[in-house]
């Protein structure tokens, strides 16, 4: 990844993380909130790969944890794993498929919501699975609506890497 693209990814992640905690998290309709940061992270990971996805997820999560004064590392852990998985999905099964942004966004939303509940439970924090399950459908709808517009926007800003492929067969002309 070129330094210019790296700086762009860092700026996008920082800006969206700040806007997520200060603006988007207060928009609640139907019991759910849009997670623009998560959709952006999934888009970056699909376009730039697993390593970029994991690193972006870690720093995005760290910004969220610091600004919300939450348990440090919790969101970072969830978003690191999400970025890594989305990147691997983009590099393998989802490569070149039109439905990849939607599928990855929905899977990531379910993972982050239930994963957050799981980690909080393991830490002994009192959390309600009912609240998570009630808000999950609305969060899925919100993020599904945002998946393609944000993916398109992120693709325009960070582009797609040139794939270095190995030739699978050689044709000899005699």
């Amino acid at each position: 990844m070129s330094p210019v693209i790296g700086v762009r990814v860092a700026l996008i992640v920082f800006l969206i993380a700040i806007l997520q905690v200060s603006a988007f998290s207060s928009v609640g309709i139907g019991g759910g909130r849009p997670d623009v940061l998560l959709v952006t992270l999934v888009s970056i990971a699909l376009l730039r790969g697993a390593v970029t996805g994991a690193v972006s997820g870690f720093f995005a999560g760290l910004i969220v944890d610091v600004t919300t004064l939450g348990t440090l590392g919790l969101t970072a852990l969830l978003l690191t794993l999400t970025g890594y998985w989305a990147g691997r999905y983009g590099e393998t099964t989802g490569r070149g498929r039109k439905h990849a942004p939607l599928v990855a966004t929905l899977a990531a939303t379910i993972f982050v919501e239930l994963g957050g509940y799981g980690v909080q439970s393991m830490l002994g924090e009192p959390v309600s699975v009912r609240v998570v399950l009630v808000s999950l459908p609305a969060a899925l709808v919100w993020n599904a609506i945002l998946a393609y517009p944000i993916f398109g926007l992120v693709r325009r800003l960070v582009g797609t890497p040139e794939r270095v492929e190995r030739a699978r067969e050689v044709e000899l002309l005699v």
């Binding site: 200060s22 207060s26 957050g116 270095v164």
Partner: protein
């Protein structure tokens, strides 16, 4: 000649598949270990130690950005709130007119009761705990950050220990009780909302005096339940629930007496349950809170 169209980088050899996979796993492994380490340190010593200091410093550094984000978003939120209120304006006006008539009668009755109460207290030399709002000053603060996941029910406000905010300070909005300060840094604080699983407040029914505990509801994050109310006590739909603010010889409630919490929306009881099943609709809107008042005891009050 190759049979497929292949683009190669201008210089250098492409990394082998195994090297690339190894590098990838090392990076994600290190990040996961780092995140787990941060969780461990943060969880074991949330308010002290180097991790808490670093978090405090980082939070202070990021504060201008979150405030800027909040200010950018505020006009859009106002437009949304205005449009939302237009949709319900007619029904709201009708409800408020009816409430106004009922409250006008209530105010006259309350005035008589208050005068009588003052006289009786003076006769008995009655000592009471701190009351809301007379014994407190409100420290106004904007909400600058909210959690991204639905499993956390708290907000971050732009006031900290430098402004006089103390740990466990009660927090209210113009409408009613909101929550409690659970973490304090120099210039920001975390307020855990009453809709969170870990918060509960002792409360009473203003009309009947029935006491109990208000905590998060089971159905959704913005519904509350008035729990531990014995079946023999009377609670009716429409009753107002306020903080109880109890005080014993050495212990006292964190919350002052008389902060409005919500209105009773349903009352039920089952033969098998020890307590009544009471649902409360909170006065404060936990989903749309932009500014709060952190209550600080006036000088000389304890």
């Amino acid at each position: 000649m190759l049979g497929v169209n292949v683009r190669r980088p201008a210089t250098g050899k492409p990394p082998s598949r195994s090297t690339s996979a190894f590098r990838r796993r090392i990076v994600v492994g290190l990040l996961v270990v780092l995140a787990l380490g941060l969780i461990t340190f943060s969880f074991r010593k949330p308010d002290s130690g180097p991790i808490a200091s670093a978090e405090s410093a980082a939070s202070t550094a990021l504060r201008p950005f979150t405030i800027a984000g909040e200010r950018v978003a505020q006009p859009f939120r106002d437009v949304y709130g205005w449009a939302d209120s237009l949709l319900t304006a007619r029904s709201d006006a009708k409800r408020l007119r009816e409430e106004n008539v009922a409250m006008r009668q209530q105010v006259i009755q309350n005035q008589f009761a208050a005068n009588e109460n003052d006289k009786l207290k003076a006769l008995l030399a009655f000592r009471d705990g701190p009351r809301f709002p007379d014994d407190y000053t409100g420290l106004a603060a904007a909400v600058i950050a909210r959690p991204t996941g639905s499993y956390a029910q708290d907000v971050v406000v732009a006031a900290g220990s430098n402004d006089g905010v103390a740990l466990d300070a009660p927090v209210v909005t113009a409408n009613g009780f909101l929550g409690r300060v659970t973490r304090v840094y120099s210039r920001s604080s975390r307020v855990t909302l009453l809709s969170d699983e870990q918060l509960a407040v002792s409360a009473l029914d203003v009309r009947s005096g029935a006491g109990g505990i208000v905590k998060h509801g089971r159905a959704s994050a913005s519904t509350l339940i008035f729990d531990r109310v014995p079946k023999k006590l009377k609670v009716s739909v429409g009753d107002t629930i306020v903080t109880a603010g109890w005080r014993s010889s050495k212990l006292a409630s964190l919350y002052p007496k008389g902060i409005p919490i919500g209105r009773v929306t349903s009352v039920g009881q089952a033969d098998t349950d020890l307590w009544k099943q009471i649902q409360v609709e909170p006065f404060a809107d936990f989903d749309r809170v932009d500014a709060v008042l952190v209550l600080v005891l006036k000088d000389g009050q304890k």
